[in-house]
Symmetry: C2
Subunit: 362 residues, 2 copies
């Protein structure tokens, strides 16, 4: 039922949409590359399916197409960046670049960002460090959908963490995950299929276990990684909290239940304690610890050993973080990227609204 | 059935044991403080119950009582420390102190450590940063007990992460957790009680779910945080891997299945790729991002809001990471620290062997 599009087709369309809302040529190109890295890597929830949402935020005046992005505070290894209310898709690479430049001189660089918005997949930004022989880290807070352990109130976003570590002959180690049991995008996929969620992903408004994939529309909540107290949900809650604090309290963005919502129709929270969403980035020069060649050779050894770990019944191999996404990207560059019909419809309407050339079919 | 001992009683005994194996007065004092911080904070598995294990490692020549601990590489914001084969209990505070000193000048400090050993609870080291108005981080790799997702082979330790964040009037936020569904200490507790483990903590040697608390003695494995693929175990596996790489590959320690075992009777792995265990520490000066007063006031606000989140049925409050451990410490300082009879017996035998005064009963 799904049509496939080439990366180039999606690129041309997305770029024209960002240009149409007034982004500079440079920003439109960058925002497109960042957004579509999600589609390429198989994380469909965070890619072009969200383009309409970004445009709605711009229409609502919640995102600026021409932001004044600037460093507002710095030390040799740190900075705070004010994103000027811009697309996180362009603010985040700016801030990650600052982290990388800091790392060049000081060994590591750490940048907290306020007054920004959704930044696509965390993995893109963390991976920017790889070509510099650096370890990259990226995280962001997000609209509150997650209830802490022992609570029924939505207090945290799915607050992802990405860590990218270079190797030599092996592909890089790239972890990129929501700090919840399941990312919201996986729940959306079940909604589209009218399927139930496994127990442990969500709870209802009273905190009872639920398998209803639509429970978030009924005051339910996502559960932190670990699902329940017996299975370590307090650890997922702590991880999501750390992401929130590093991204938003260190920078002066809005945190916890005050994080600005992604859907433009949801009213902004009252009494927001900061500006916009927050991100946090890190870059560590590998040779600030040991010679890069040595490190990367040992990473090859590490990866090779874990790849060779004995698989359990029903599995033919043990994966290294980043394997599924890299393999999806290789496949999708060749075979095209599938879009749900509902997404195609939305993009058709978007083209008409913005007066840009509609998306070509492959 | 359990006798209680005052902190002072445990302190005097532990200090005398470290002195007896040849630690300097300064190291014996520090090692005692670090080790007993676990007993105080209610993490019984990592405190005085392990003293006999440390002494056995020293007897086996796997720990040096008078290590040459030194910085072997550094940049403005990083260092690599060689622990000289010493007690992690003294190597870790040395390295964390280096991270703090780096942060003073460069904004942040990041230290990877090789040729070290078990360091007690990660939280102690992370919390060293708090009095400096810094955020502290600590992690360590450990003997392999954990199977990656889709594997039956033990490849990672329980590899804990601790993050300590200062507040003003509120107590600090202190997260300290193993990157597994349940720490090994919790499993040991069930073994002592002859109880079963919840499903999702461990698997048997074929990778089947198991409730056998003794399964690690039967070639089973602990499961990463998330328990299984459907519930995010690939995220726990990634977290444990990141801890392993930051602690051991960045520093040149032994990683993955080669991490040295804690029990002295277990043979050392062959073809070890590095020296000893590895740790990783971080310190970030809060005012490298924004004025410390502002940050700490917002942390009070963050903590207050999360504490006020609506509890679910059967719970009267939502906890902030660090609450249970801080409350345990307050209680145990007043009421004493309970020891299992088996631990008392081991400590009695240890006193005889080392020729030190046995532990007094309260």
């Amino acid at each position: 039922m799904e049509n496939r599009y080439s990366y180039q087709q999606l690129f041309a369309f997305t770029q024209s949409a960002f240009l149409a809302i007034g982004c500079s040529a440079e920003h439109a190109l960058l925002a497109t590359e960042v957004l579509l890295s999600a589609d390429l890597r198989g994380i469909d929830s965070h890619g072009i399916a969200r383009l309409v949402g970004y445009v709605r935020l711009w229409e609502a005046g919640r995102i600026k197409a021409n932001p004044d992005i600037r460093i507002v505070h710095e030390t040799p290894s740190t900075a705070v960046v004010d994103g000027g209310g811009g697309l996180g898709l362009v603010v985040a690479p700016f801030a990650m670049r600052v982290a990388i430049e800091k790392a060049r001189l000081a060994g590591t660089g750490w940048v907290s960002v306020r007054n920004t918005n959704h930044f696509g997949i965390a993995g893109y930004h963390a991976m920017m460090a790889l070509q510099e022989d650096m370890i990259g880290m990226a995280m962001t807070n997000a609209s509150a959908l997650v209830a802490p352990t022992f609570s029924v109130e939505r207090m945290l976003g799915t607050n992802p963490i990405a860590v990218a570590i270079p190797a030599n002959k092996e592909p890089a180690f790239v972890a990129d995950f929501a700090t919840t049991t399941a990312a919201n995008g996986k729940l959306e996929l079940l909604q589209r299929k009218n399927a139930e969620a496994p127990l442990g992903w969500v709870q209802d408004e009273d905190g009872n276990p639920s398998t209803d994939a639509n429970i978030l529309k009924k005051k339910g909540a996502l559960l932190p990684l670990g699902s329940d107290r017996d299975h370590g949900s307090h650890k997922g809650y702590a991880l999501g909290s750390i992401v929130d604090i590093f991204s938003a309290v260190l920078s002066g963005a809005s945190y916890g239940p005050w994080a600005p919502p992604f859907p433009a129709y949801v009213p902004m929270p009252e009494n927001m304690p900061g500006e916009g969403l927050g991100h946090f980035f890190g870059a560590m020069r590998v040779d600030a610890f040991r010679p890069a060649d040595e490190f990367k050779a040992q990473m090859d050894h590490w990866i090779g050993r874990f790849r060779a770990a004995k698989p359990s019944a029903g599995h033919d191999r043990v994966l290294i973080p980043g394997d599924p996404e890299r393999e999806a990207a290789e496949q999708r560059l060749q075979e095209g990227i599938p879009l749900f019909e509902s997404v195609e419809e939305e993009l058709k309407a978007l083209a008409a609204k913005l007066g840009v050339k509609p998306l070509d079919k492959q």
